[in-house]
């Protein structure tokens, strides 16, 4: 039987494309987030596309009380339990500069909340000896930049967490894929200045699916961001600190 997937942040356009590609293969889907009405519409859509199970579930990165019920619901399904984290938020850096208290939310949405959730899920994956975790980070986590270093820092924390979790779950038959998207055409980036080489959410979802199949550890999507980020990481700090990119 195909996996049951917990999808955190299922209202994201990337998550929608990912969920649909799983639905077409008859997977079970627990679509989690804060917007119950939207999640219910997506659940219907996924059932019509072939999901054997598609349910809307409450999940708030900033409210750990929502975590246990979701994990229990997943654990009630037979077979491997997998999870994909699309939840995240990116307020403008200027808003954070004006109100440093926003940092807490950014860290909760992009790192602390998902990490705590995955920490609770890990024993289930270990017990079943199978299951995949997909963690969506960002190229922004590869190096802190003037334009969004708080978001970048939270994503960098998440990357490090995922690397450790991979080390842990790999021993028990599980696997962790770290996904670092470049710019993707979603609600998060619509109308933002400075976007280029913007990828379609469906293309990102397809990259993630193939990374899961091939048990890749860390992917950039679209692939060329690996090379762009290699260059950006290679720039010596004395020069980098003067750049506005």
């Amino acid at each position: 039987m195909s996996d049951t997937w917990i999808i955190l942040g299922a209202t994201s356009a990337m998550a929608r494309a990912f969920a649909r590609s799983l639905a077409a293969e008859g997977a079970g889907l627990l679509l989690a987030g804060r917007d119950g009405a939207e999640l219910a519409l997506l659940a219907q859509d996924c059932r019509l596309r072939g999901a054997r199970l598609a349910e809307a579930m409450a999940f708030d990165t900033r409210d750990a009380a929502t975590f246990a019920a979701l994990i229990a619901r997943a654990a009630a399904e037979p077979g491997p339990i997998s999870a994909a984290v699309f939840a995240g938020s990116m307020p403008p850096q200027a808003a954070i500069d004006a109100d440093p208290a926003l940092i807490e939310g950014v860290v909760a949405d992009n790192f602390a909340g998902p990490a705590r959730f995955l920490q609770m899920l890990a024993p289930v994956i270990e017990a079943r000896g199978a299951g995949t975790v997909v963690g969506v980070g960002s190229v922004a986590g590869d190096r802190g930049r003037l334009g969004n270093y708080v978001y970048g820092a939270a994503k960098a924390g998440f990357h490090a967490y995922l690397s450790g979790l991979r080390n842990r779950l790999g021993r028990a038959g599980g696997h962790v894929v770290t996904v670092k998207p470049g710019f993707v055409d979603t609600a998060m980036t619509w109308g933002l200045p400075g976007m280029f080489l913007v990828a379609r959410p469906e293309a990102v979802a397809a990259d993630i699916r193939s990374a899961i199949l091939r048990r890749r550890n860390v992917i950039y999507t679209p692939f060329f961001w690996r090379w762009i980020m290699l260059i950006i990481r290679t720039i010596p700090e004395p020069i980098f600190k003067k750049l506005k990119i």
Partner: protein, 435 residues
């Protein structure tokens, strides 16, 4: 909601607009936009001209509200959001035996666009128009949600109504049962015009369409290939892989000698005795979708499609049009002849019983002059042109072709008194000006 300032255009790329687009991904966001900053809704912009543009204004891109939200297999009723592409519905449901009863020549068209243009397919003479299979729909008029049922004036003004009665949020469609996702397609040569017409008239296949070599003249004028098809359980042929046109092509790409050579080869590819093949469903319904962004083949200046329909007795007028086209040397490989039935769902719907001819032309002064002549010929034959394809017509021409325009404008004014939903096409053709 963030707005994105964009330069954009219809599929023909001859007319460009610059304006702010919102692209809501949640129902609540759409409702807020409609209540606070009402603007016309647009789909995948597969209309050729200016139906889906609002220059110097705002528009709502509906393509992210694209979920199928319910299906009743007993009644064959699908509840679906307006931004859903028809090709997605077909891909998801055909393997399970269901299909929209009417599909236009591109699977990228959205449900909202198909309703607002009351589109037709290769089965129009049997199945009627898209709107005739709409069981009900939901509109947002400013802050109000309105359920619209067939038979009401609002329904008649919304089907084919160019989005002027409100933003279509979702619709319930009556789907058709199909045996599977394959099509049995028979292709035969038609040697000249009367041969072509006779073959289309004779056909009893559910789907029937003629491709015309619009460069042929004299004794071979009107020659082409008649394509007839029916649904089949398969086995489904592998689908052809999609490719993409990455750059605007240079002017040479579709010049007269290239088109003539291409058309001859395209015609001769079918053996004289005809052939029958099993095709994958999208390969039959949406043959051009395999080449993404093929509109770029026409280069920067873009192109136009002329499409008209004339009454059953006026096929001669189409023959005269074809003579004018062949003599002009302006035709592209895309020229299509179809029989139409009387089916139509709304006051501004294009279809009427008779014959429809559609031909693409690279944009330029000579093509625009030719299209003006073709429009005049269609009008003289008591036919009409299709607003989904038009970028050039004058208000008086459309007024003469669409007798229910006055009644429609009245309904549109009731639905949107301030005119927030007007698009470039609506302004150019003065559709909402009181008669």
């Amino acid at each position: 909601m963030r707005w994105k300032t964009l330069e954009y255009s219809g599929w023909g790329r001859s007319h460009r607009a610059r304006g702010d687009l919102a692209r809501p991904e949640r129902r609540a966001d759409l409702a807020r936009i409609c209540a606070e900053t009402p603007a016309p809704a647009i789909g995948m912009r597969r209309s050729y001209g200016d139906a889906a543009t609002n220059d110097a204004g705002r528009a709502i891109d509906m393509t992210r509200l694209d979920r199928m939200t319910g299906f009743d297999p007993d009644a064959g009723l699908l509840e679906v959001e307006a931004g859903t592409r028809l090709g997605e519905i077909a891909a998801a449901l055909a393997p399970r035996g269901w299909l929209p009863a009417v599909l236009p020549g591109t699977g990228f068209a959205t449900v909202g666009g198909a309703i607002a243009q009351d589109v037709h397919g290769k089965n129009h003479h049997h199945a009627g128009s898209f709107g005739q299979h709409v069981e009900s729909l939901t509109l947002l008029q400013g802050g109000a949600t309105v359920e619209v049922a067939p038979g009401t004036d609002l329904f008649l003004a919304t089907l084919g109504g160019l989005g002027q009665t409100g933003v279509i949020v979702s619709a319930r469609l009556r789907l058709m049962r199909v045996p599977g996702a394959a099509m049995e397609v028979r292709e035969t040569r038609a040697a000249h015009w009367s041969d072509h017409l006779a073959a289309l008239e004779r056909s009893d296949a559910p789907y029937c369409v003629g491709w015309i070599d619009a460069t042929a003249t004299g004794a071979t004028l009107g020659r082409g290939i008649v394509e007839e098809a029916r649904h089949s359980a398969g086995p489904v042929a592998a689908q052809t892989r999609a490719r993409k046109v990455a750059l605007d092509a240079p002017g040479l790409a579709l010049s007269a000698p290239v088109v003539r050579a291409f058309n001859a080869a395209y015609f001769n590819r079918i053996p004289p005795a005809g052939r029958t093949r099993l095709r994958a469903l999208p390969d039959f319904f949406f043959p051009l979708d395999r080449l993404h962004d093929w509109n770029r083949l026409y280069g920067k200046r873009g192109f136009h499609q002329f499409q008209c329909v004339v009454p059953p007795g006026a096929a001669k007028a189409l023959r005269e049009m074809l003579e004018a086209v062949a003599a002009s040397g302006l035709a592209s490989p895309l020229a299509v002849l179809k029989r139409m039935g009387p089916g139509r769902a709304g006051m501004l719907s294009f279809p009427m019983a008779g014959w429809t001819l559609a031909i693409d032309f690279p944009n330029g002064p000579a093509a625009r002059d030719l299209i003006a002549r073709l429009e005049a010929m269609a009008l003289a034959a008591e036919g009409r042109i299709y607003l989904a394809k038009d970028a050039l017509a004058a208000p008086a021409t459309i007024r003469a072709m669409y007798p229910e325009l006055g009644a429609w404008a009245h309904e549109a004014a009731r639905a949107d008194p301030q005119g927030y939903l007007a698009t470039d096409l609506v302004r150019r053709l003065q559709l909402r000006a009181p008669a």
